[in-house]
């Protein structure tokens, strides 16, 4: 590896390998659709099955990892010193691909954990103290998740005496579902278990964050869908309501915390929590409708879930890639140090803008589509008139709408502060232009975003087979036929193609009109700043200033802390220097995780003092005390 010429070889090789294997898996899963095969070992039979759900996820994973691999062919050159990145990321993606086609619990668990291990190794890749903390928290949480999933599988095994998923249909009772869903929620970063996510996703290299945020968290959704819609014994609809409420809380708090961030990747990571919450809401509605036998509602909510998985995956991975480029070419991810990047990275900023619009659900892009389906299914569940569901879905609508608006604010902040205005520091001033391959990697998912947003009918009819597999029904995607078969669906109509077409036509007309009939004179001038120092970029609104007023209103979510330190002995009105410190705490972390950790340390202290005495007399004392206790048990209890 001393030879610089050969340094890139790992990068090229493994990225191409990823692309090839993504293609291979896609072809394989289409070709082998509905077939299964078994790899035998002396002990475990690795069995694989290609059903509609796994086909969907294989295509999803492989397409997004394809884009990311294209992106990292060039982007990865800053990691050539330590090529383990490319090996791990290849294995990471492969293990996810195998995960979704596995058909027995051991295979599932093995690849589930392989996925976690490789992603963990990628999180700690940078080797800094920060990445260690993040990596440990991540690995701990995901380990807890795996253990819960394992417990769920063990209980399923005890119920069915089989490893194979084929026998698990309709076997999972409420405890099993609760264990599994809790386990998977940890991976998905749902609210009480989300603490790891905002630490782990930002510290990984950007292409890995893109995979983790865009793809890996969705593996948890895969597991939940499998458990709730395939394995569930279908007993308790209240579980659906719980998922709905938890999802809604995640969505709201996730985006609220996102708004408070300064680090671009951290903001995106919190937004992942929000989107997972939205997916959970859909799952909750769908599951509830399944148990309560509201068929069309079930299909519709499922469509919302699947669409949102795709949409979030596409836009989030492209945004993470974009943030990687910002990091790479400006050497900072702190948006307070950026600004005006649009001038330096024009094409990237257009791509980023579309990604931002997509993720904050702006019509007519894809993000809005899935959120629209979710709204419709929430309204549908209000129509069911069920005593509990009505009120919970109203709450969910309220939280979702608040989250939607807050999402707009958060991403306006992200885009506006980063790309617009004047460069705030030299980092932004000296930004370089990104490489074309990198931009292609971002452009492809963005194009897909636009495509799905504007013309979703094909993808919905494709998703219908997945919906059919999970729920036994389909949703009609036809924009102009008010179909009677699905009651909820005919309730309202959103025809994105028409809207987009009219939008474009009107835009062109207006542009043309104003070009012709309005003055076209232009003058470029310095921005007016009340005649004061016009060139000072510090006069601009800062990112934290942007979000502070919203944060002040919702201060109960943040448990934030801010103070202004003035230098003391200066004049009252003309202070030379003041320091503003602001600290935003995650309430879940502050009130649950940190106290729990402290409690653990306290108990450990006690144990360590009591049980691990260095004194040999005490140790011997324990020995004989045990003996005497055993004797007493022997005398008085055993007969």
């Amino acid at each position: 590896m001393d030879n610089l010429k050969h340094k890139g070889i790992f990068r090229y090789f493994f990225n191409c390998l990823t692309i090839l294997s993504a293609a291979f898996f896609t072809v394989l899963s289409i070709y082998c659709f509905k077939s299964e095969f078994i790899v035998q070992s002396s002990f475990i039979n690795f069995s694989f099955k290609f059903d509609a759900l796994s086909l969907f996820f294989v295509i999803f994973i492989s397409s997004i990892s394809l884009f990311i691999s294209i992106f990292s062919i060039k982007y990865g050159d800053k990691y050539d010193d330590k090529p383990s990145l490319f090996i791990y990321s290849f294995l990471f993606i492969i293990s996810m691909l195998i995960l979704v086609i596995s058909n027995d619990m051991l295979t599932f668990l093995i690849f589930w954990e392989l996925m976690s291990i490789f992603s963990f190794l990628l999180v700690i890749y940078e080797g800094s103290e920060e990445s260690r903390k993040a990596g440990f928290l991540y690995f701990l949480m995901t380990h807890i998740g795996t253990i819960l999933i394992t417990a769920a599988f063990i209980m399923l095994y005890l119920k069915t005496s089989s490893f194979s998923f084929d026998y698990y249909k309709g076997a999972a009772g409420i405890i099993i579902l609760a264990a599994a869903i809790t386990g998977f929620s940890i991976k998905a970063g749902i609210m009480p278990f989300h603490t790891w996510l905002p630490y782990a996703h930002p510290v990984a290299p950007a292409n890995i964050s893109a995979v983790m945020s865009g793809v890996m968290v969705n593996m948890a959704i895969y597991g939940i869908l499998k458990f709730l819609f395939v394995f569930s014994a279908g007993s308790n609809s209240f579980l659906g309501i719980i998922l709905l409420v938890i999802g809604a809380l995640s969505a709201l708090l996730g985006i609220m915390y996102a708004m408070a961030q300064k680090d671009i990747k951290k903001l995106l990571a919190f937004s992942t929590i929000e989107n997972m919450g939205i997916i959970f809401m859909g799952i909750g509605v769908s599951y509830w409708a399944r148990i309560e036998n509201f068929k069309s509602l079930e299909y519709l909510a499922m469509l919302a879930v699947l669409l949102h998985i795709i949409n979030h995956g596409l836009s989030k991975s492209s945004l993470f890639m974009g943030s990687g480029l910002i990091d790479k070419y400006t050497h900072t991810r702190n948006m307070e140090k950026l600004g005006g990047l649009s001038k330096k990275m024009g094409q990237l900023s257009v791509l980023f803008l579309i990604g931002v619009m997509s993720i904050s659900a702006m019509p007519p892009l894809n993000g809005f589509l899935s959120e629209w389906y979710l709204y419709i299914s929430l309204i549908g569940s209000v129509f069911t008139g069920n005593l509990y569901m009505v009120y919970f879905s109203i709450i969910a609508i309220a939280l979702l709408s608040l989250a939607g608006a807050a999402g707009g604010a958060a991403f306006t902040k992200l885009f506006g502060i980063t790309f617009l205005g004047k460069p705030r520091t030299a980092n932004a001033e000296n930004a370089k232009k990104s490489h074309v391959i990198e931009r292609i990697g971002i452009a492809l998912p963005i194009l897909l975003c636009i495509y799905i947003g504007v013309y979703p009918y094909q993808i919905i009819s494709g998703l219908n087979s997945v919906i059919f597999y999970l729920t036994g029904g389909t949703v009609n995607p036809n924009p102009f036929s008010a179909v009677g078969a699905v009651k909820i669906h005919s309730f309202s109509l959103y025809a994105p193609a028409v809207i987009a077409a009219v939008f474009t036509v009107l835009l062109l007309i207006i542009l043309f009109y104003f070009k012709l009939f309005a003055s076209d004179k232009k003058r470029v001038f310095e921005t007016w700043a009340c005649g004061l120092d016009e060139k000072n970029p510090k006069a601009q609104y800062s990112g934290s200033g942007f979000s502070s007023s919203i944060m002040k209103v919702f201060s109960s979510f943040y448990s934030s802390f801010s103070e202004i330190d003035f230098e003391k002995d200066v004049k009252k009105y003309f202070r030379s220097k003041s320091v503003y410190t602001e600290e935003v705490n995650d309430i879940v972390e502050k009130y649950i995780y940190i106290p729990a950790g402290k409690l653990y340390f306290k108990i450990s202290d006690f144990f360590n003092r009591a049980a691990n005495s260095a004194n040999i007399n005490v140790s011997l004392g324990y020995l004989f005390l045990t003996l005497i206790v055993c004797f007493i048990i022997y005398i008085f209890i055993i007969r």
């Binding site: 007399n617 011997l620 020995l623 004989f624 003996l627 005497i628 004797f631 007493i632 022997y634 005398i635």
Partner: protein, 205 residues
Amino acid sequence: MIMEKIAELFIILILVSVVLNVSSPFIKFAIKLYSFQSLMLAFYILMGAVHFNSVNLYGSFVITIIFKVILIPYFLFKTLKKVKMDKEIDMYIGIPEAVVFAGSLTLLSNLIAQKIVKTGITFGSFVFTISLATFLIGAMLMITRKTLFSQIIGFLTIDNAIFLAANSITHGMPLLVEIGILFDLFVSILILSLLILNLRRNVAA
């Protein structure tokens, strides 16, 4: 029958010696007591041997005399001389309390023994009680005393208790096993002495 009654005397003497050990804070005296206790044990085994006319038990008697009465106390004295540690032993609890404890441990042993031992199994009545009591009191010696030597003495007392139990059945344990056990015991005492020496040296240095 007369042998059994005499043997009971020796058994009682074993218990007495261990209680005396509890009540005394001197190491040299403790080693001497241990030697005496082993002698009583040997005599008990001899009584059994005479009573049953068992070659096995005669063998046991001989090796007990050799190892426990002579060799081990000898090495202990030698080590003691080398480390020059001839003072009163520090204890965690006072002697009167310790003696009361010893009494209650005897009570506990009696409870256990009553539960399992039917008459006629052992040579001499209440052997099992005494053996268990000696065992537990030996353990107490190890726990309550701060010096390393007392731990060795306690350990050896425990060993004697087990030996007593092992030889209380008609013909005792198989001789081969007993030799193995005693050899192990001997080696462990050697190693412990070595360790005491090393530890003293380390502390001094």
